[in-house]
């Protein structure tokens, strides 16, 4: 039988946690702007959903900023935003929904990857509260893209993790 862990994890983010959470925050800032583009390019239900989900990313960014305090980055992950902005802001409603769904799935996979490395409980709890909402948003957007396949709705590709090497904070 393995030994029981007796050392309580830290509450506050460690210095390594700060780097991980900052990366996640830069992605959330980028998602706010990508949803703004999507809302501007959409109408009716797609516009409403883009505005609502964009607001959720804003709330996530605000909470991460609050946790990180003065160490928090204040700008989006520019490289990630640049790579996604064209598809987020153009095409039919179904195409935009499909692209946003893939982004939400990528964010979920990335946040889970971050969570798996965080030591501090506060940061872990916050990221854990963001993950299920972005997963729900992915599920809704898959349906809005025209797919009713449960395989598509439930799909979470671990390989979709956004790489900090490719998209540095």
């Amino acid at each position: 039988m393995a030994d029981t862990t007796t050392t309580a994890p830290p509450k506050q983010p460690t210095s390594a946690d700060v780097a991980l959470l900052s990366f996640g925050l830069g992605l959330e800032f980028a998602m706010i702007d990508l949803y703004t583009r999507a809302a501007n390019a959409s109408k009716d239900d797609m516009k409403t959903v883009a505005e609502l989900f964009g607001a959720h990313h804003r709330a996530a960014a605000q909470s991460l900023t609050g946790l990180l305090g003065r160490k928090a980055p204040t700008v989006r992950n520019e490289k990630f935003y640049a790579a996604q902005s064209t598809k987020a802001g153009g095409g039919t409603a179904k195409e935009i929904a499909a692209h946003l769904a893939s982004l939400e799935n990528a964010l979920v996979a990335t946040h889970i990857n971050v969570l798996s490395q965080l030591r501090g409980i506060d940061g872990a709890s916050l990221v854990a509260s963001i993950i299920p909402i972005e997963a729900r948003q992915a599920a809704v957007l898959v349906e809005m893209s025209g797919s009713s396949s449960l395989d598509d709705i439930m799909a979470l590709d671990a390989k979709a993790v956004i790489d900090p090497e490719t998209y540095p904070a």
């Binding site: 393995a2 029981t4 862990t5 909470s63 990857n113 854990a128 909402i133 449960l150």
Partner: protein, 274 residues
């Protein structure tokens, strides 16, 4: 006419006075005096049962994962019961079958995690959750004559609402356990499953309220209570999961149930077994 009083007589007043003095003196003497005899037990009538305390238990990663597994088995059993009723339309039945398969996969995924954390796999439903939440909920839908519980007048809707509630409970449980799990990698593994439960809840919300009206939070105009929502807020909620099911009352309301994530008194501790 005056009646003569005999001062030497031992009348009732004097008896009471002297008796009270004797009692008071005895009490003072007892309080001041030393006694070799110390009371070791209080007198009682009958036999008192001997009690056996529960073994000492700690909330470890293994215990939390075992509890998560027990909740997966609750969901598997609940979906089996729902399917057996034969009330759901075919479209909803396929969703139920898929979600049940997902919960089986989750339980299977938890087993190696539990072993790695040093625990024994827990491959059965959480008795307390079944007893407190799922059993009473199913009774409100199917009815129970012996308990005087009438069957629901909208059983299909109620089954979906119950499934939605259970998926929300599962999602909230994994989210909550992240704050209790000590090992970062285990937290990530837990939320890989937890996000699945959240997707289940999102799908069911849109089955219950279709045509895109079940995406954002809304209020039921008849009951004044929140409708199921695919995306109920900006953050995963850890509040109690509430929903209303059962026969509609004359006032137009149904019985409201409130489910909380499994806590200290419903964890699958190491000494518990299936």
């Amino acid at each position: 006419m005056n009646i003569p009083v005999n001062d030497n007589a031992f009348n009732r007043r004097k008896f009471l006075q002297s008796g009270g003095l004797a009692l008071a003196s005895a009490a003072i003497l007892a309080a001041c005096g030393k006694s070799d005899k110390v009371a070791t037990s209080y007198p009682r009538i009958g036999e008192s049962p001997t009690t056996t305390g529960l073994p000492t238990a700690h909330v470890t990663d293994a215990v939390l994962l075992r509890t998560a597994s027990s909740l997966e088995w609750c969901a598997i059993d609940a979906y089996t019961a729902v399917a057996a009723l034969g009330l759901l339309p075919s479209a909803a039945t396929s969703v139920v079958k898929r979600f049940q398969a997902d919960h089986k996969a989750h339980a299977a995924a938890l087993t190696p995690l539990i072993k790695k954390a040093g625990g024994e796999p827990f491959e059965c439903a959480n008795e307390r959750i079944n007893e407190l939440y799922i059993g009473p909920a199913v009774e409100l839908i199917t009815g129970n004559e012996s308990k005087g519980i009438p069957a629901s007048d909208t059983p299909v809707d109620d089954l979906l609402v119950l499934a939605h509630g259970l998926e929300n409970l599962a999602a909230a449980t994994y989210q909550y356990y992240v704050s209790l799990i000590a090992t970062p990698a285990v937290r990530g593994a837990a939320m890989t499953i937890g996000q699945d439960e959240a997707r289940h809840a999102a799908v069911l919300a849109q089955v219950i309220i279709p045509d895109g009206k079940g995406i954002a939070p809304s209020i039921n105009e008849t009951t004044g209570k929140p409708n199921p929502a695919a995306v109920p807020g900006a953050f995963g909620s850890l509040a109690a999961v509430t929903f209303s099911i059962g026969k509609t009352s004359e006032a137009g309301t149904k019985t409201q149930l409130s489910l909380d994530t499994p806590s200290l008194n419903s964890l699958a501790y190491e000494y518990a077994s299936c």
